[in-house]
């Protein structure tokens, strides 16, 4: 999603250069269609990263482009979007995100390790989109098993987190349900609503998504 939104942003920002690009600013004429550029950039990224969905994505792009007036502006927009997407994809091609799972949990009694199948092991070494290094804001290790902090946290979770807790209020239950869902299905609804509510123009819409997606 970060690649997709970076590509859309850099494509639109090439036409209306109001912000520092993420990776690419290509020379284009101002009459180039921003809509066509953004759509073509998004489609190019999705087709490359999700080849199984290529036919579906291409169909969506074709349908979308029919809503835009034919002409040089649209043609130049499509070309720009594809070129920007290619450059973003190339820049991220060796970022380490697709590295094989090297996580090998080892533990001993009393030491917690995550029980779910591992997620994000590559982030430890992947080239970040925005951070100076993957470890720039790395969290500290958990508190000692013998510490008062650990005991306090454990008891708090036990009291508030248990299924039939009498200490958890309705808002906390709602918060817990909110955080149960993760990933783009949950979180992308928020920037979408903000973009729409604020009636952002195309460039600021793209920048908003791009900025949110480049948090690591």
């Amino acid at each position: 999603m970060a690649i997709l939104h970076s590509a859309m942003f850099d494509a639109v920002n090439s036409i209306e250069p109001r912000y520092k690009p993420y990776k690419v600013r290509l020379p284009v004429t101002p009459d180039t269609s921003k809509e066509a550029a953004a759509a073509a950039a998004a489609a190019a990224v999705l087709i490359k990263l999700f080849p199984d969905a290529a036919a579906d994505v291409q169909s969506t792009l074709t349908t979308y482009l029919t809503t835009l007036p034919d002409g040089d502006a649209k043609s130049k927009g499509v070309k720009l979007g594809q070129e920007v997407a290619a450059k973003i994809l190339e820049a991220r091609d060796q970022d380490g995100a697709a590295a094989a799972d090297a996580y090998r949990p080892k533990t001993r009694p009393g030491v917690y390790i995550p029980t779910p199948i591992t997620y994000g092991w590559a982030l430890a070494t992947m080239t970040p989109f925005a951070l100076a290094s993957p470890s720039q804001f790395r969290a500290k290790p958990p508190p000692s098993l013998k510490s008062a902090e650990w005991a306090r946290d454990y008891n708090e979770i036990k009291e508030i987190g248990s299924k039939n807790s009498t200490k958890r209020n309705a808002r906390q239950t709602e918060d817990a349900r909110f955080w149960l869902v993760g990933g783009p299905l949950a979180y992308d609804q928020l920037p979408r609503q903000i973009v729409i509510a604020k009636n952002m123009d195309l460039l600021d819409s793209a920048r908003s998504f791009r900025s949110r997606r480049r948090t690591r």
């Binding site: 997709l4 969506t60 697709a98 094989a100 199948i117 590559a122 783009p184 299905l185 949950a186």
Partner: protein
């Protein structure tokens, strides 16, 4: 009773294009992309055996970058004790049916 100028103003207000907020190409393609990403990270079907869980894990590894961690339920590392967790890449980490 409305004066002529007030009628004109009212007419203009009622007939003026509404500048309502709406989705745009960025939000539309974000929605499209989320759908594709989700389709690639849907929870596994009921596991029929180790083979299926192993297939799913391979798929999950390939698509790890796009995984929605909140939708994949843990099967745990049930059989892996202590320091013997040096599993091979093609070994399943699921314990549900293996």
């Amino acid at each position: 009773m409305l004066l002529k100028g007030e009628w004109i103003l009212l007419t203009l207000l009622l007939t003026a294009p509404m500048s309502s907020a709406a989705a745009n190409v960025v939000t539309d393609w974000d929605t499209k992309a989320v759908g594709i990403v989700q389709a690639g990270t849907a929870p596994p079907p009921p596991l029929a055996g180790c083979g299926k869980s192993r297939d799913f894990e391979k798929m999950a590894m390939e698509r790890a970058r796009y995984r929605n961690e909140g939708h994949i339920r843990s099967m745990a590392y049930g059989r892996a004790p202590g320091d013997e967790w040096q599993r091979n890449d093609d070994q399943s980490t699921f314990s549900a049916a293996c």
